[in-house]
Amino acid sequence: MSDDERRATLVRYGAGERTNHWLVALAFVLAAFSGLALFHPALFWLSNFFGGGPWTRVLHPFIGLFMVIVFVLLAASFWDENRMRPADWQWLRQYRDVVNNREERLPEVGRYNAGQKLLFFVIVACLLGLLLSGIVIWRAYFSLYFSVGVIRLASLLHSVCALVLICAILVHIYAAIWVKGSLHAMLRGTVTPGWAWKHHRAWFRQITHAPHPRSRTD
């Protein structure tokens, strides 16, 4: 461990949150791969990872259901801190500063920035769409309760939600590569004070009780 890393660290994610996040992530990868196998012929080979076509068809809905359940747990603990606040809209308006690493020009960010919050609600919406449409097209148990028109609409909706979700998660994965230290935060739970200071200053003040510059007396 280098000297830098031996400094004080701040806990960003507890072991429970990390476990929960990676359960969602693993379920997402499996659901996405099995779903893509059935989405386009060029990706049908992905079904080999699941034991062939029929097994892919059997497993995919159960994997999806598992993802929804573990995501609900994650979302319940993350919900409050992902509410959009006025400063978030300003943050989004300055997206050029965001993508060009000019963070000093942006409003102070709490535990999550507006991009993370947006991603959160995109995931919530997509998973809700995938769950509802997925039930309709789950032929082994539920399709018999729906008319063919509803099943056709659900199939289309399922594809659209999956496309949006996969693109959103690709952005999420890239953001973890882009903002150094984020991946460590989700893998080992901690960040350095400098990381929190730079990327989530309002959260930093909240957990360290560091005074806001304007309230300083000296």
Binding site: R6, R7, A8, T9, V11, G14, A37, L38, F39, H40, P41, A42, L43, F44, G53, P54, R57, V99, N100, E103, I137, R139, V148, G149, I151, R152, S155, L156, S159, L163, I166, C167, L170, V171, I173, Y174, I177, W178, V179, K180, G181, T190, T192, P193, G194, W195, A196, W197, K198, H199, F204, R205, Q206, I207, T208, H209, A210, P211, S215, R216
Partner: protein, 323 residues
Amino acid sequence: MALQSLDIVRRSATTMPEPGVRQSYTGKVAKLIDTTKCIGCKACQVACMEWNDLRDDIGTNVGSYQNPADLSDRSWTLMRFAEYENPKGDLEWLIRKDGCMHCADPGCLKACPSPGAIVQYSNGIVDFHEENCIGCGYCVTGCPFDIPRISKKDKKAYKCTLCSDRVAVGLEPACIKACPTGALVFGTKEEMQQHAGERIEDLKSRGFEHAGLYDPAGVGGTHVMYVLHHADQPQLYSGLAVDPHISLMVRAWNGRTKPLALAAMALTALAGFFHFVRVGPNEIDERDEAAARQAMEAAQKAPGAGTPPAANPPPNRNTELRP
């Protein structure tokens, strides 16, 4: 399968052309069902059961001669009985042999995600290859005629094969062979259209002015066609589709949309890669750490602004100071 596989012109879930040097020079085949000659004897149903070794469960009486009540994984053809009171007040018994229509543009094949589970032969027959079927039921969703049925036993999709095994060796389908009235005939599609033309002329001369051929263009024509007394009202025949076509929603998630969706995913990943190449990672440096350290020290010194975390930890997400 060796040579037969050369006669496949379309396979489900494949993006490249099938082997195409062999052509069906004798033309495409068609079954013609003349509803005006059908007496509802069900010999065709029995022949289908016998040839294909199918025995459905004993059903229940649904108030008409229709038996079984619906198509199933083990009933690939079925006489549908409809009682129609025409404007003159007379009863017409409209009997229609239902089953796969073998569309030239098959919705089942287009919707199927499993390579080679549904094929179309050069003679026009649309066939399910159940060994490749994964049981997802997309063919049911794609079909404009509500034909494929998923077996409860093995979760595979089944339907009329137009006796592709018999036709391949120069025989007519089993149902044709069994029909006692000549309501079912089989030959090239052209011959069947000609034959239907003669039948329609005859029917018109006998007062059925709306008699006509059912060969719906919405699915590119079919290789099972009907002669109807009321071709202007196909729905009278137990709900035969008036203008069948592959649903817009099925086409919307097939065809060009899928490669575009894959491209969208690939572009998203590429956008990230090139952002990294052009803008680079967002890193923290010594100044950030120093500023953070200063702020934390100030927090411990300034009692009015806040209390040190160690003395009064918040309920969760606490700071953890490691040596």
